[in-house]
């Protein structure tokens, strides 16, 4: 165990020593890998910021059924059974709430502060309404249900309120998948860059490798510094990419704040959670390690 640790310490020191010896090429490689990593990290930051917004919104489709203004109150209340029977079998547990026109007016006065203006109207302009919070229903089935409800006697308008949230959630799912594909593609790019960097190192250190073999170094001993080189490149590039994305949030938030204010929102992009950042660094280090491992196995085997 002591020898194993000692060998790893030596390999790490060798890797650092060689990277420091060529600072220009090291910095360039870090930059190239960081650019490749920054794109998926930026995408992930965006998704992580949007996710809580969508979670706050109800994702159950909601239907508002507005009755004709001249519908008698008892007929309006009796419509509940007609609505329930129009629901698909799987959605029978949906919540149906009746909002009488008087209550609707009170709510409006309370929430908008337009009480005085509404009083001047003389009569209540709001109809009786039903709010249906649908359970276990397909987005596709919502439209069919809306049509059935529209056909009920006394119904003036049917408004599907929450389908857009479902659509947004579906869109986010597509974005997540696209991000995953982008990350996978750029992961391959990162590995290719590190593969090539390590290949060049193997070529420039050919003599050292040959001498090491002649003095009794095992393959593991010779390979190890290259593995550390790959992992270090990955970690450094990951750090640069995370820092770049985090710094880019500042000017972006300036523009977003303006936009969000128009919708009375306080929405801001925030940096990724430190735990996620650590996980991303581990992934970039692993990508570097894998790129180096493929390169070392391929190119060292060819050396005498």
């Amino acid at each position: 165990m002591k020898i194993w640790l000692r060998e790893h310490r030596f390999a790490l020191a060798e890797a650092v020593r060689k990277l420091i010896k060529t600072p220009g090429s090291f910095a360039f490689n870090v930059l190239v890998v960081a650019i490749a990593l920054a794109l998926p990290i930026a995408g992930l930051t965006l998704l992580e910021n949007i996710r809580p917004v969508t979670q706050q919104l109800a994702v159950e489709p909601e239907i508002s059924v507005f009755l004709a203004l001249d519908t008698p109150a008892d007929q309006a209340r009796a419509l509940a059974s007609g609505i329930r029977s129009a629901l698909p079998l799987a959605s029978k547990k949906s919540r149906i709430e009746f909002i009488p026109r008087e209550q609707a007016l009170e709510n409006l006065k309370e929430k908008t502060g337009l009480a005085d203006a509404l009083t001047t109207l003389g009569q209540n302009p709001l109809p009786d309404a039903y709010i249906i919070r649908l359970a276990n229903i397909d987005v596709a089935a919502v439209d069919a249900l809306a049509e059935r409800l529209q056909a009920l006697p006394g119904v003036e308008t049917v408004q599907v309120d929450s389908a857009w949230v479902k659509r947004l959630a579906a869109m986010l799912q597509v974005m997540r998948l696209a991000l995953l594909l982008l990350a996978a593609t750029l992961g391959v790019v990162v590995m290719a860059v590190i593969f090539n960097t390590v290949r060049l190192q193997v070529l420039t250190q050919r003599e050292e490798i040959a001498v090491s073999r002649l003095i009794g170094a095992t393959d593991a001993f010779i390979h190890r510094p290259f593995y550390y080189t790959g992992a270090l490149l990955g970690i450094c590039a990951g750090t640069v990419a995370l820092a770049a994305v985090t710094l880019a949030l500042q000017p972006l938030n300036g523009a977003i704040a303006e936009f969000a204010r128009l919708y009375a929102s306080e929405f801001r992009l925030t940096a990724l959670d430190p735990l996620i950042m650590l996980m991303l660094l581990a992934i970039s280090a692993t990508l570097g390690l894998l790129g180096a491992a493929f390169s070392v196995r391929r190119h060292l085997a060819r050396l005498p």
Partner: protein, 223 residues
């Protein structure tokens, strides 16, 4: 200690480097391999260190068939050998001391132990004061002595030196040879290839090779 049984070696392009070599070297011997360039001296040494594999025949070292060793076993064979080359093959990007420490580091020795033993080895070849120098700052003879220090730092049972005095002036060559003889006196078996006839006067055993064939071998009887 070393035995060649009907060993032949041909390279890929069909050139026969060695043909039907039969040879035995006992433990503690100092053997010179002589012959013109291209005679097969280097190939013979490479076969012992398993840098090359025989095309036919058997090379054994302490009873072990080195030609059949698996790749993973080679480092452990070489840790018991001291290899010295015509080109010193010192690593230019580290100090002389770091070069000499390397064979110990690869075996898992601690830095302190490796440094102590490397300094002792450099002392034995008279290079202690150049320990911190870069190899390119050393003369050819000093570089070769540094290479000898690297070869003996692991206290090998056998030293294989391939033309260690080539490209050196007379004084430097003598110093290198004296260093090798000192290790032989300490009980290390030495095989030294040379095409410099003048060094053979001091040899106790000489093996002549020509065009890959062993043509003559002689021993000087102990006085």
């Amino acid at each position: 200690m070393i035995e060649f049984q009907h060993v032949s070696k041909s390279y890929a392009h069909g050139v026969a480097a060695l043909t039907d070599i039969n040879l035995t070297v006992a433990k503690g011997e100092l053997v010179f391999l002589a012959g013109p360039s291209g005679a097969g001296k280097s190939t013979l040494l490479k076969l012992i260190a398993a840098i090359e594999r025989p095309s036919s025949g058997k090379v054994t070292l302490n009873g072990q068939d080195v030609g059949k060793l698996k790749r993973a076993a080679l480092p452990y064979l070489r840790r018991n050998l001291g290899l010295i080359f015509q080109q010193q093959r010192l690593l230019q990007d580290r100090t002389v001391l770091a070069n000499v420490m390397l064979p110990l580091i690869v075996t898992g020795a601690s830095k302190a132990e490796a440094q102590q033993r490397a300094l002792a080895a450099l002392d034995k070849v008279g290079l202690l004061e150049r320990a911190k120098a870069e190899p390119q700052a050393l003369s050819g003879g000093e570089q070769q002595r540094a290479a000898i220090a690297r070869a003996i730092v692991n206290r090998p049972q056998l030293i294989l030196a391939d033309e260690p005095t080539a490209n050196l002036d007379r004084d430097s060559a003598n110093q290198v040879l004296e260093a090798l003889k000192a290790f032989h006196s300490a009980g290390v078996t030495c095989l030294i290839s040379t095409h410099d006839e003048q060094f053979l006067d001091s040899a106790t055993r000489v093996i002549y090779l020509r065009q890959g064939q062993l043509i003559e071998t002689w021993r000087k009887e102990a006085a």
